[in-house]
Assembly symmetry: C2
Homo-oligomer: 346 residues x 2
């Protein structure tokens, strides 16, 4: 039985202080999750925009030459610039984003009531992060909390890696996957001596996002790429798909909670059951979503009808899924692992 | 001084036998080159289409389930299918290509007069090669001729690896780069103990092709990705760019002959001079193309105004550049290495 937290949404943009006086928070949503000491830690994607200025569309970017955040102002009357989509500014040379994300820590003793740091934990530091960093996942493996996140720039959407031992200091390690590749999730243990990682390349030409598995010795070099999970016609995941949560072991194999959506439809969560020793083998896959947008905060918001998760915690038969709703706020739902397994055709 | 071969084009589609009776050769163009024994070997991209059938648009694909080449016939009157671009068939679910390439060997004693094998040397064998394999480069390193080529499928444009010792037997080794990534070129020696490889990811969102360098222990796993060479405004390479030939060492550093084009303009070749010990450092870059379309066979053809090279041989001060002209035929031009170096601003 799906039990949504009665305090949903548990984090909203009103709980987050802007990163500086020039900025305004648009949303606090997709978050990775980990247990650290006696706390539940969320790494929250905070999206901001520059405060309005009359007559201009404003673009916050990280200037890697100056090594600082700057705001570019584009004249709304400049007919050479395409402002038709509010999310973008398109000049002849370059595509810009009108919002910019960074990653903030939220801490809780009970997994429900969170306090959010006033300062960013991770923000843009490199040219390939100039448009912001997004959608962190946290995997505890080999003594570190590894954090992977997608970074955007004029060069495309990369996935990058950082790690911490204490959620106080953090070290960026560099690029994991070349553009465009996101929805990367690291398994919590090595398999046959290798790190195993979900990822999702997208082709500029063929535009078919699909889940792949890649293997690594060091989480920075990748090979042995295998197509895991294709789109499915006439299903909730016919149009877009990607790994969501860090997978966890059940008696039947690895359980991966992923996201999918059909054309013009809702972003839902589904489940994949993968072979324990060879996760490139799918044992079962949800016919129906295990969680789909139906509550007001999931249906109505910045991007309506979106449930998107980057992490869950497992506690006996309960899986606590933290998810971004409508690219705006953070919610929590608890499901039974046994019921998810029973819902899979296996 | 640029000296085009007086026998240009040295290979045309009329020199190539179709791979089977169902097919028709459209072009024999972008080719890798190597010296083997006393011969010059070209690995030629041969593009074919299925023979016409009244009322249908035909799509040749490799069916990886049946493990055979098949031809899909699409009814021209089916209004659900988009036939507006002759290169594509676009159904609701999938984008197909109307032509399909494989790789054929051509051999020559003098580097000018070539005889082409009747059988393909490399063709599609895997699901990620279903739409064909293209644009081979050959690098002799560590005792093997390594061949990398781009492969197309509904999953995107990959770069894959094969190797041979004798150009008779050949072994496919798998995927080097996830989609979309092409214009991959392997350096002919390891640098600081690592294989060093040009590649060119393309973002679906930002559409800025650029040349990157990546490093590898085995040519199948890659990391340490570095942006080498961005687009340049108001130059011949302002819109598209990619590595072309296998780089070679000169007294001033690595010389890489690459391709570039401006918007709506000609595909030209330029040169990059890179630091001998750290090729991620650019010493100099062509202000003007070193070779650009001007001859009738370069200006007028299947894709007009295209000079695209995948390989060159070096002989003293002469660099013999083999290039595809108009995505249709193969030509040869000889340039002076010294003059190329002098033309660079360094």
């Amino acid at each position: 039985m799906t039990k949504r937290c009665n305090k949903n949404p548990i984090i909203t943009k009103y709980d987050v202080r802007p990163s500086n006086d020039e900025m305004e928070v648009l949303g606090a949503f997709n978050c990775g999750v980990a247990h650290y000491n006696d706390e539940t830690i969320l790494l929250v994607r905070v999206a901001e925009k520059a405060k309005d200025r009359n007559g201009f569309v404003r673009v916050p970017v990280y200037d890697s030459t100056k090594k600082q955040e700057v705001i570019l102002d584009f004249d709304k009357n400049d007919s050479d610039i395409d402002f038709s989509d509010v999310r973008f500014v398109k000049t002849k040379e370059q595509l810009y984003l009108t919002s910019k994300s960074h990653i903030r820590i939220a801490r809780s003793k009970n997994g429900v009531d969170f306090k959010i740091d006033d300062e960013p934990f991770l923000s843009s530091d490199y040219f390939y992060e100039e448009y912001g960093i997004e959608d962190p996942r946290i995997t505890f493996v080999d003594g570190y909390y590894y954090i992977n996140y997608s970074s955007s720039s004029r060069h495309g959407v990369f996935t990058c890696l950082a790690r911490t031992k204490d959620f106080v200091t953090v070290e960026k390690l560099g690029i994991m996957f070349m553009p465009d590749n996101k929805d990367v999730v690291i398994f919590p243990q090595k398999i046959n001596g290798k790190f195993c990682v979900f990822n999702r390349p997208v082709s500029a030409y063929f535009q078919r996002p699909e889940i792949w598995l890649s293997y690594s010795d060091d989480l920075l070099t990748f090979g042995n790429h295998k197509l895991l999970c294709d789109l499915r016609e006439d299903h909730f995941d016919s149009c877009r798909i990607g790994a969501s949560c860090v997978p966890f072991l059940t008696e039947k194999g690895w359980l991966e909670i992923y996201h999918g959506c059909a054309e013009g439809d809702k972003y839902c969560l589904g489940a994949l059951l993968l072979d324990k020793d060879d996760p490139s083998k799918i044992i079962a896959r949800s016919e129906q979503p295990i969680l789909y947008p139906e509550k007001p905060y999931e249906v109505d918001g910045f991007m309506p009808n979106v449930i998107f998760s980057c992490g869950a915690t497992v506690d006996g038969d309960s899986v606590h899924i933290y998810y971004g709703a409508c690219d705006e706020c953070i919610c929590l739902a608890t499901l039974s692992v046994k019921e998810i397994l029973n819902s899979l055709e296996c």
